[in-house]
């Protein structure tokens, strides 16, 4: 083990310190020749010049010797790789037109994919949704609605599937922190709501079950952004008072800066939800979520809740007659993302197509390029280059291209991601999507794959042919023969023919994506101006007061 480790470090030293090693070797060789010459002078009485000549002859070719020594160091493959890389860079610089177009195509493909990957990774694969469900009432496959106090209390008391359940009621309020009241989104939540989500305040305390009792002093957890807006600094927000719809609440905690929405509902403040003892089945309006217990699944929870529905609903039949309704859990991920999540999925498919087109395009360009270099490659083969060596040469070239493409792609991806966040559909956490380490690794993986495909594809074409006639043709005519030109032209045509349907497919997908996000509401909404006013129920009790306003 240590033996191998030592040899490996020696290999790397041999590669990294090649010049030092070569110099040491040269010293050793010089000494050898010198001593040999002196020995010859002594034993055979040769003149110094002649002795040195003889010594050199005896030694053999110094260059060949150095080569052999490099072989013994076991770094030949690494040196060859470097040689291939230099050759590839030189070749690519030699034809800037090809290189620039190939790199830009790859940069677009890899960039777009990386951007969408980051978005999907952040939004669709958000681990925060794992094990969470939202509970709806459902009486037909498409008719789902919210829960009432009765339902929530029954679930709290009787469920056996969840480690935590919580309720949220959201709405618009008039909010003031000493100054002018302004409209804000409020999410009244129970203690279990935060516990189920696994979210807690960074400062102060969270909502406790005692805060939920009707008549307990009103308290609220507030979002970081509101804390900074209202109090200038999040650190001195705890203990201050805010007025929500005319009721003074004490701030007990501040949420982390990156949390602006919970379970897909955005709000600036999160007061404790105090549920009055229900007298009838309604009103509904509660968003109820649950965290699945250790051995529970969505399916088992569904049965649990169905049984619960059958026990509870008859008790309240007087105020609610629908007998087919059941409490039904859905994965919170589906509940929150819904159609927008599907759109993002659609978008990923479109972008994957774009990447495929990019790789196909560059592979075709490579093929055209390699066909143009047929004579060079034939010559190399005749001179003894093995197929593996040729493959390595071309793959190194395409990998170099792909690597540059990936670097540019990461830059493109970062721009594309910003554009996606700006114009894309509203999705929770989408604005948090960043090009992180995973995205870079993704881009690198794509580049590697693309490089291998692009390099191997032309070689497969090339190796199938007999190379000798190509060489002869090359000898007879300077540059490419007429037939070769025809073939090359054919390839270009074929390339376009292949990529057009792909491009059309991607375009159609993008188009349907845009249409989906811009469904015609059926009337012209441009001249209509809506104004919403929130009236605090404490100052405007009853419908008559509201209509007077």
């Amino acid at each position: 083990m240590s033996h191998w480790l030592r040899r490996l470090t020696r290999r790397f030293r041999a590669f990294g310190h090649r010049e030092i090693l070569d110099r040491e070797l040269a010293d050793e060789v010089r000494l050898h020749i010198q001593l040999e010459a002196e020995d010859l002078m002594r034993t055979r009485g040769l003149a110094p010049e002649e002795a040195r000549r003889q010594a050199l002859i005896r030694f053999g070719g110094v260059d060949r010797f150095t080569e052999a020594h490099h072989d013994a160091r076991g770094v030949r493959w690494l040196e060859e790789l470097l040689q291939d890389f230099r050759y590839a860079v030189r070749g690519l610089l030699h034809s800037p037109g090809f290189s620039i177009s190939a790199v830009s195509i790859l940069a677009l493909g890899i960039g777009a994919s990386t951007a969408v990957f980051s978005a999907v990774n952040t939004v669709l694969l958000d681990p925060n949704y794992d094990h969470l469900v939202r509970i709806y009432q459902q009486n037909s496959p498409t008719n789902l609605w919210t829960l009432s106090t009765v339902d929530f209390r029954a679930i709290e008391a009787q469920q056996r599937s969840f480690s935590a359940v919580g309720a949220l009621r959201s709405g618009e309020v008039a909010l003031s922190a000493g100054g002018e009241p302004r409209r804000a989104q409020s999410g009244w939540a129970t203690a279990g709501f935060f516990r189920a989500l696994g979210v807690g305040p960074v400062l102060g305390r969270g909502i406790e079950p005692s805060d939920e009792i009707v008549g307990a002093p009103p308290v609220a957890v507030i979002g970081y952004r509101f804390a900074v807006q209202a109090f200038g600094d999040d650190t001195n927000a705890v203990g201050r008072s805010i007025t929500i719809d005319g009721v003074v609440h004490v701030v007990i905690g501040v949420l982390p800066a990156d949390i602006n929405e919970l379970a897909g509902r955005g709000a600036q403040i999160w007061p404790a939800l105090q549920l009055r003892r229900p007298e009838r089945r309604g009103p509904f309006g509660l968003l109820v979520i649950g965290r699945l217990a250790q051995n529970a699944t969505v399916e088992s929870a569904k049965q649990d809740l169905a049984g619960l529905s059958e026990r509870i609903f008859p008790e309240w039949a007087a105020s609610f007659q629908d007998r087919s309704a059941r409490l039904t859990p859905y994965a919170l991920r589906t509940a929150v993302l819904g159609a927008s999540g599907q759109m993002l999925g659609l978008f990923s498919a479109a972008v994957a197509l774009v990447l495929l087109i990019a790789v196909a395009n560059v592979a075709s360009l490579m093929l055209v390029r390699v066909t143009g270099r047929g004579r060079e490659i034939a010559l190399r083969t005749v001179l003894g280059a093995t197929r593996g060596r040729l493959l390595r040469l071309l793959v190194t070239e395409s990998l170099t291209l792909a690597a540059v493409g990936a670097l540019a792609g990461i830059a493109v991806g970062s721009l594309a991601l910003r554009a996606l966040v700006a114009i894309g559909p509203h999705l929770p956490r989408l604005n948090e999507a960043r090009l992180d380490g995973r995205a870079v690794a993704f881009a690198a993986g794509l580049a590697l794959l693309a490089g291998l495909v692009m390099g191997a594809y032309p070689v497969m074409f090339l190796l199938r042919r007999d190379l000798a006639p190509r060489l002869r043709e090359g000898e007879r005519t300077v540059g490419a023969g007429r037939r070769t030109q025809l073939i090359r032209g054919g390839f270009v045509v074929a390339e376009f023919a292949l990529s057009l349907p792909l491009l059309a497919g991607a375009g159609l997908l993008l188009n349907s994506f845009l249409r989906l996000s811009r469904v015609d509401p059926g009337f012209d909404f441009r001249p209509i101006l809506t104004v919403r006013v929130s009236l605090p129920s404490t100052r405007y009790p009853g419908d008559s007061a509201i209509s007077e306003y």
């Binding site: 000494l31 001593l35 053999g60 013994a72 160091r73």
Partner: protein, 109 residues
């Protein structure tokens, strides 16, 4: 050149190890000693001596250090390690087995 024997594959390592059993030597001295000990029959091609030395060092059988030669010159000296000594003993017995066997075959009439 024709009166000199070509070295059998693998025997060079054994010979180099043998020259180093008596003490550290530098590259030229190794080749000189091989020539002397074999009455000028074995002349190690220098193109294979130094790569072989590097290989042996790689295996951990010899150690190289820069020092000063008896002629007062800076030279790289090769020393047999403990592992090298063991390797030498193993290779020597193997060689003896092999050469006796070959000799026996050739003697048969």
């Amino acid at each position: 050149m024709d009166d000199r024997a070509d070295l059998l594959q693998g025997t060079l390592d054994l010979l180099i190890l043998k020259t180093l059993v008596l003490g550290p030597l530098h590259g030229w001295a190794i080749s000189k000693r091989l020539r002397q000990l074999s009455d000028e029959v074995l002349d190690v091609g220098q193109g294979s001596l130094y790569p072989a030395l590097y290989r042996l060092e790689d295996q951990g059988w010899i150690r190289a250090e820069w020092g000063t030669s008896p002629e007062g010159r800076r030279a790289k000296f090769y020393t047999l390690t403990a592992a090298g000594r063991k390797q030498f003993a193993a290779e020597r017995s193997q060689w003896r087995l092999f050469s006796t066997a070959v000799e026996q075959v050739l003697k048969a009439t």
